[in-house]
């Protein structure tokens, strides 16, 4: 616990100093932080609770659209629309989970792809609200305490706060009753029921919290993009990237998804600038290597070795 809180402190300290040290690398850092927050939110359901979603772009898009539409059409400040997005995302997750959590195996995962697709079609067709296929544009934003929300520095700090809040949430949950209910359901639903745990209710809670957190990051993303297009924001690619970030970093670990974001988005950026065309190929190879040789993900594998070593030491002593 203290170990993780120190980690969080380091993240915040480095983060607070970052814009002054690397003022020219803010955009990539914002991406890393948003993905860290999204992947960690995803992992609450996918890693800790074992329910793999391939539709988390739905919640990113929901947040981004609500912030953009709220601002451009109704003059609502982002903090209100982000709170609304969290509530709407939770309701959507509840309804979707209620429909699909009784399905076992890969069906839940497959069904989540449909959610993003449905939302994308809604966004394209409800032109009066969403601007249709063209998308929606944020032209003005409020200036709380004189802060310009269009500045990359302000956006960086929002993304940092988002990532930190999500990671803090996971740190607390991992130690609490709810965190153990999540893991019990992931490991064995019958055994969980024998411990008095309601598997469906547990999955619903995890899905709702995961969706709500993701949508808040989506709202920040909307501000960062300032221009939201349905086929970009509700893309399967984004959903897959969020899931992969967590899986490569280490499912069901506190820091895995954040490390995954650093590696995937960071490496992705370096590859894109150095290798240009070969970028996707190298990205693909990286994923393959992790899946084949580090199936628990980077942090998952490190943690396991650490436990083994501790245990071996105790067994000798």
């Amino acid at each position: 616990m203290t170990k993780h809180l120190i980690g969080l402190g380091v993240l915040l300290a480095v983060g607070i100093a970052y814009p002054a040290i690397f003022p020219n690398n803010l955009t990539i850092a914002i991406s890393v932080l948003l993905f860290a927050g999204w992947a960690t939110s995803w992992d609450l359901l996918g890693g800790w609770n074992g329910q793999v979603s391939l539709g988390h772009a739905s919640f990113v898009g929901l947040g981004a659209y609500l912030v953009a539409i709220g601002q451009s059409q109704f003059g609502l400040a982002p903090w209100w629309t982000m709170a609304m997005a969290a509530a709407v995302a939770a309701v959507l997750a509840y309804l979707w989970g209620w429909l699909t959590f009784s399905l076992r195996g890969p069906y839940f995962s497959l069904s989540t792809i449909a959610v993003a697709e449905i939302l994308r079609l809604v966004a394209i067709n409800e032109e009066w609200l969403t601007g249709g296929a063209t998308g929606v544009f944020i032209a003005t934003l409020p200036e709380p305490f004189g802060v310009d929300l269009f500045s990359r520095t302000a956006q960086f700090y929002m993304a940092l706060a988002f990532a930190a809040v999500v990671i803090a949430t996971i740190i607390v949950i991992s130690r609490a009753r709810f965190g153990y209910q999540l893991r019990a359901v992931r490991e064995d639903e019958d055994s969980a029921m024998a411990a008095g745990i309601d598997p469906t209710a547990t999955k619903l809670k995890a899905f709702m919290l995961s969706a709500a957190l993701t949508s808040i990051g989506g709202g920040i993303y909307g501000i960062v993009l300032a221009f939201i297009e349905p086929h970009v924001i509700f893309a399967l690619l984004l959903s897959v990237q969020i899931a992969l970030t967590a899986i490569i970093g280490g499912r069901g670990t506190i820091w895995g998804p954040a490390v995954g974001a650093l590696v995937l988005i960071g490496a992705g950026e370096i590859f894109r600038t150095t290798f240009a065309e070969a970028n996707m190929l190298i990205y693909g190879i990286l994923i393959l290597v992790v899946v084949l040789f580090v199936p628990r993900g980077i942090v998952g594998e490190l943690a396991r070795r650490h436990i083994r070593r501790l245990y071996a030491k105790r067994a000798q002593g």
Partner: protein, 238 residues
């Protein structure tokens, strides 16, 4: 003796096969009910039906005079059922302590108190020194005891033990028999499935014999072991 658990006319069908046919049982606190029968007799299926893990075709179950027939398994646990699985089902990725902690969280919300309860149960079953070990690494005898610890940590009124003695060596078997006796001494109602007759005869107040899903005999251990239908059922299949 007042009944803690009553099950009336339990019938379970899998497709066209009747795995349990119209079996009834009742159990008071501190009482040990032994359930025996040849392989495939329907013992585990009866356990699963009573605890809510197998859908029943017909029957009625009451716990402390409350009808729980329609309740899902996890609600029956909350009302006072604890169970083991014949093939142990630990949460493999977690430590021994965390496995029991999950069960302890049912009655205790605070982490520190739940951990204390889990540790005291681990001490009872003799696994305290393994608390930090991954559950995956336990050998058979210890996996059994972990299964027992998980069932006890929900603080049940009725505990269902499905062949927890199978495969134990003689000293471990003696320990387990003494342990089950101590549970009934604490007022727990115990329902146990067991192939080891030594344990059944020593522990059971009452024995029910199943064969091909039917109750073919019941009574004291001595009555049923002399019953001709029982002898025939065992000799006929083994």
């Amino acid at each position: 003796m007042p009944n803690v658990l009553r099950a009336d006319g339990i019938t379970v069908k899998f497709g066209g096969v009747t795995a349990v046919n119209n079996v009834s049982l009742s159990l008071g606190s501190g009482e040990i009910l032994g359930l025996i029968g040849p392989n495939g007799a329907g013992k585990t299926t009866l356990f699963n039906a009573v605890t809510g893990f197998a859908p029943m075709h017909s029957g009625r179950i009451t716990l402390l005079d409350k009808d729980i027939t329609a309740l899902p398994a996890f609600k029956r646990t909350r009302l006072g059922f604890g169970r083991t699985f014949q093939t142990e089902r630990p949460f493999e990725e977690l430590t021994v302590l965390e496995n029991v902690l999950i069960a302890a969280f049912l009655t205790v919300g605070r982490r520190s108190e739940a951990e204390r309860l889990a540790m005291s149960v681990l001490e009872q079953v003799g696994l305290a020194d393994r608390a930090r070990q991954p559950a995956l690494d336990l050998n058979l005898a210890r996996r059994r005891r972990l299964e027992l610890a998980k069932a006890l940590a929900v603080k049940p009124k009725v505990i269902f033990l499905d062949e927890i003695m199978a495969g134990l060596n003689p000293p471990a078997l003696r320990e387990m028999i003494a342990f089950v006796r101590s549970l009934s001494g604490q007022g727990l109602a115990v329902l146990m499935v067991e192939h080891i007759m030594e344990a059944i005869i020593e522990l059971s107040d009452h024995v029910i014999v199943l064969a091909s899903g039917e109750k073919i005999a019941e009574g004291t251990p001595h009555q049923v072991t002399r019953n001709e239908r029982v002898i025939e059922a065992y000799l006929g299949t083994d």
